[in-house]
């Protein structure tokens, strides 16, 4: 059981790092490596999408290997993260729309918010049950 868990965690880590790497290439490649070539840019973006789907499947495979309490902890954390992301994301968007903040709303901020919220809610849920 532990061996299988390690295997799935390693697979998820490989997919995640590949996705991060391909995202960096897709973001900066057209600027630094190939001279604004639309074909290469399209290929790297599609590759990033494909790797992203692989990462989601690896994540689901790991989740399916969790036992019932681990699944409950993760589902509770995901529910809190989803709710907060929708509410805070729309508030952030309204700030931008009404020019209360001077900068444009960035999707990167929302992704960072999702990561931090998930981590904190996971820690709180773990403390509640374990």
């Amino acid at each position: 059981m532990k061996q299988e868990r390690k295997k799935r965690v390693l697979k998820l880590a490989l997919w995640t790092w590949s996705w991060v790497g391909s995202l960096a290439v897709a973001t900066f490649g057209h600027q630094f490596f190939w001279n604004q070539s639309k074909t290469l840019t399209l290929v790297t973006i599609l590759l990033n999408l494909f790797i992203g789907i692989g990462m989601i499947v690896a994540n689901r495979n790991l989740f399916n290997h969790f036992d019932e309490l681990e699944q409950k902890i993760h589902l509770e954390s995901l529910a809190i993260t989803l709710g907060l992301t929708v509410v805070v994301g729309l508030t952030y968007s309204l700030f931008d729309l009404t020019n209360i903040i001077h900068n444009d709303a960035e999707i990167g901020m929302l992704v960072g918010f999702i990561g931090i919220t998930y981590l904190i809610s996971l820690l709180i849920s773990r403390k509640k049950y374990l």
Binding site: M1, D67, E68, L69, E70, K72, Y129, L130
Partner: protein, 63 residues
């Protein structure tokens, strides 16, 4: 819901780790069940009652 999992586990000479391996859950889950922080699913409850050769009603007390 209260339970007598710790009592039955000890009477069968099992550690939390051993019980977790037999029931196919993590040791932390067994600990959470024994501390009554978490109520297990029906399949897990059945596995436990079968292992301890008792009924679910004897093992888990609904209050």
């Amino acid at each position: 819901m209260k339970n007598r999992v710790r009592e039955f586990r000890k009477s069968h000479g099992l550690t939390q780790e051993q019980l977790a391996e037999i029931i196919e859950v993590s040791r932390q889950t067994i600990n959470a069940i024994e501390k009554q922080k978490f109520d297990p699913s029906l399949p897990t409850a059945f596995k436990m009652s079968k292992l301890f050769k008792t009924t679910i009603e004897e093992l888990f007390l609904y209050q």
